[in-house]
């Protein structure tokens, strides 16, 4: 359900009517003209359990919106948790009892602009392992200024994550559509999200050589992101699609600052994509989820904000490809979601990873 009203009573009423006795997943576009803190206070006057995040844009059906509140019902919510201090790693993951032969799904929103998100995901997997599916994304502002962006009954927070454990079957498709241009390269020196050396050389020099040769464009002081948004890095996996890392800018030491962490000695390719490959990948992600699902009630799309920055006006084609694939198979399915700063899923139910420039389609039954 999409709520466009800015009247708090009306918003609360609509959310309550939609989710009834269940918990709510509230996904809000960052330009929505409401005070989230006030909305939380109003919601807390009722008995509703809720979690959510502020995102650059939200998805409802076939629309992408800067403003608006997308509400999803979280049926069979077992428990909901807030984890603070993601960057300092000073937290512990609460114990959860999972019953045998029951399908569980964990839905999580994390501050996409904080550091050590990979550690948070690793901690989740260490504690809950294969007993559940994982699905979610990075919240935050497109301005890349870190501010409070994930919320729950306890308030709105930055450097934090919220997650809900649902007794619910989910089927997930994950694709990105970026293809190798050149590689492998070794990230010989890195710190957090900064690549300090590639193949023991200055990273920008290496990157520039490959990208300029492939694109026919030349980097200058002002066009780094314009070119780089089409040339991400891909962390090489054995026999599976690589994990994309998005170069954001060059710092004063000519090092590459990325969205998401890279560890030293990681093997990467330099990738490139185009409208066709990206749209095809989005359709495949939808198809992967559709092919596994039997009776999904809702679809949640977690699509990277940088894909819209790359595809620009053609992003409609990507969203159409996803929604039409879903609707073809399940005509009554509700579709919502967000354009995120980083995407979360367990690839093929394996170890949990934080992606960039990727589309994740989740079908919930």
């Amino acid at each position: 359900m999409l709520v466009t009203s800015t009247n708090y009573d009306e918003i609360v009423k609509k959310i309550l009517n939609h989710v009834k006795q269940n918990a709510a997943l509230i996904t809000i576009g960052e330009h929505t003209e409401i005070d989230i803190g006030h909305l939380i206070d109003e919601l807390n006057k009722t008995e509703i359990k809720f979690m959510g995040g502020l995102f650059p844009k939200v998805i409802h059906g076939n629309s992408i919106l800067d403003k608006g509140i997308v509400v999803n019902t979280l049926n069979n919510m077992e428990s909901m948790f807030l984890i603070k201090n993601i960057s300092s790693k000073e937290y512990s993951i609460p114990k959860v009892s999972f019953e045998d032969n029951v399908d569980y799904s964990i839905l999580t929103y994390v501050d996409g602009l904080t550091s050590n998100i990979s550690n948070y995901l690793s901690e989740l997997y260490e504690n809950y392992g294969m007993q559940t599916n994982y699905f979610g994304g990075g919240a935050g502002s497109l301005s890349l200024e870190q501010k409070p962006c994930v919320f729950c009954n306890e308030g709105i927070f930055m450097d934090a994550a919220v997650f809900g454990v649902l007794r619910m079957t989910s089927k997930i498709g994950v694709r990105h559509g970026w293809k190798k241009v050149e590689g492998p390269f070794i990230i010989t020196k890195a710190q957090g999200n900064v690549i300090k050396e590639i193949n023991w050389r200055n990273p920008f020099e290496v990157y520039k050589e490959v990208v300029e040769a492939h694109s026919g464009k030349t980097f200058n002081d002002e066009n780094f992101f314009d070119i780089a948004k089409g040339y991400p890095f891909g962390i090489i996996k054995d026999g599976a699609e690589c994990i994309v890392r998005d170069p954001l800018m060059v710092n004063e030491n000519k090092e590459l600052v990325c969205v998401g962490e890279l560890e030293e000695n990681t093997l990467v390719d330099i990738l490139n994509g185009n409208e066709e490959s990206l749209v095809a990948a989005a359709e495949e992600a939808a198809l992967d989820s559709v092919n596994q699902a039997t009776q999904p009630k809702k679809a949640i799309i977690i699509d990277c904000i940088s894909r819209i920055l790359f595809l620009e006006n053609n992003f409609d084609k990507e969203l159409n490809a996803i929604t039409s694939t879903l609707k073809n198979q399940f005509s009554n399915i509700s579709v919502g979601g967000a354009l995120t700063i980083g995407e979360i899923s367990s690839y093929g139910e394996g170890f949990l990873e934080f992606y960039n420039k990727t589309v994740v389609v989740g079908l919930f039954e």
Partner: protein, 387 residues
């Protein structure tokens, strides 16, 4: 294409190998290496079982799962047959030694050089003999590193135990010394009153006996002070200052009253960084010894120094009785005396050695019976901050 694949495989091995040895902590080492393998190979779980007295116990699991403690001999026998590595199907037997619930899929089992077994599990059967062959050499390296982690932990435990025992011993020495001083003070006071109040009633033998008691009490007091000093060296942090050894030695020579038959020759000494009190103890003990054990009509003591780059090398040399070589090490041990000298407590040279050790230096001696002894010691020019 084939060459490209080979290069990629070699680089993957490089990535895996570089994740080994980042820490000497067992869990951190496992995390660093095994999380990478799980991510890169899209596997679901990893765990390690180690045998202890024919019982297999889990020492690491990712995800955590339940603790495994199995004395199933059939399992042990089967695992022991795996000399290097093997891919096994999920059976009831395999499920029984998995920390997580598994019913399908495959597991690679690696023998960790007879120090346990590493299990890598895939629910989707995406493990092949290629993975097995590729991972075998790095797992061997990982096994060696785990051995180092265990040894490091044992060493840490040993060090910790030693620290605790040392502290207990030091506390004990401190406590006993304080407790001993109290009755000693009483004896001293009582014999003093006895001498004052009943001195006239005592004959010479009685007076001599009281003097012997008081002299023994004095000696005991010196001994206890020595133990206290010895047990506090290195226990307290102090400010380090520049100490002019020329002034320090002059002060010592005034304090200890040099007999007339002893001639002291002092070279120009440096200004050193350290704690003045400890340096005074160091030199005073050596000079006092040189005086106490000098049997010559014209005694001579030389105090000097040589610059040895990172260190100063000092010497206190005398023309005294000399020391037999067999005692060169023994004399630095606590309560060791070479002769039954009433004034000696047997603790002075132990204090000297402890102070030199504390300053990161070394002490030794050269000696010739009847001709004299030279005590040489080094002091670091930049010492640490304890004294």
């Amino acid at each position: 294409m084939k060459v490209e694949n080979h290069i990629l495989e070699i680089l993957q091995l490089y990535e895996y190998a570089m994740a080994i040895g980042k820490s000497l902590n067992y869990k951190e080492s496992c995390d660093s290496f095994l999380k990478l393998i799980l991510k890169r190979k899209s596997l679901n779980a990893a765990w390690i079982l180690e045998p202890h007295n024919n019982v297999l116990k889990s020492t690491y699991a990712l995800p955590f799962g339940k603790d495994i403690k199995s004395n199933n001999q059939e399992v042990l026998e089967k695992l022991n047959k795996i000399q290097n590595n093997s891919i096994v199907e999920t059976t009831d037997l395999m499920s029984s030694i998995a920390p997580i619930s598994i019913s399908t899929g495959k597991t690679i089992v690696f023998n960790l050089n007879n120090h346990g077994f590493l299990f890598l599990y895939s629910r989707k059967d995406n493990i092949t003999s290629k993975d097995l062959n590729q991972l075998s050499p790095v797992i061997q390296k990982f096994a060696v590193h785990l051995k180092a982690c265990r040894a490091f932990k044992e060493q840490e435990q040993l060090l910790h135990n030693l620290e605790v025992q040392n502290q207990e011993l030091s506390d004990y020495a401190h406590m006993v010394s304080h407790d001993l001083k109290s009755p000693l003070r009483s004896i001293d006071a009582l014999t003093s009153w006895l001498k004052e109040d009943y001195g006239e009633l005592l004959n010479d033998t009685g007076k001599n006996q009281i003097n012997t008691i008081r002299s023994s009490v004095e000696k005991m007091d010196t001994l206890i002070n020595g133990i206290l000093e010895y047990s506090t060296i290195g226990k307290t942090s102090v400010e380090i200052f520049d100490v002019d050894l020329n002034l320090l030695i002059d002060e010592i020579l005034i304090m200890i009253q040099i007999p007339k038959n002893i001639d002291i020759e002092k070279s120009i000494l440096p200004v050193v960084k350290g704690d003045k009190y400890r340096l005074q103890q160091l030199f005073q003990n050596l000079i006092s010894n040189s005086i106490a054990y000098n049997d010559k009509e014209k005694g001579k003591i030389e105090i000097g120094v040589e610059d040895k780059d990172q260190f100063w090398e000092f010497y206190v040399k005398d023309n005294g009785k000399g020391i037999e070589e067999k005692y060169f090490e023994k004399i630095f041990k606590t309560f060791q005396k070479l002769e039954n000298n009433q004034k000696s407590t047997g603790i002075g040279l132990s204090v000297v050695k402890k102070i030199v050790d504390l300053y990161g230096g070394d002490i030794w001696l050269t000696s010739e019976l009847g001709k004299g002894t030279s005590f040489n010691f080094t002091l670091k020019k930049e010492p640490n901050g304890t004294a």
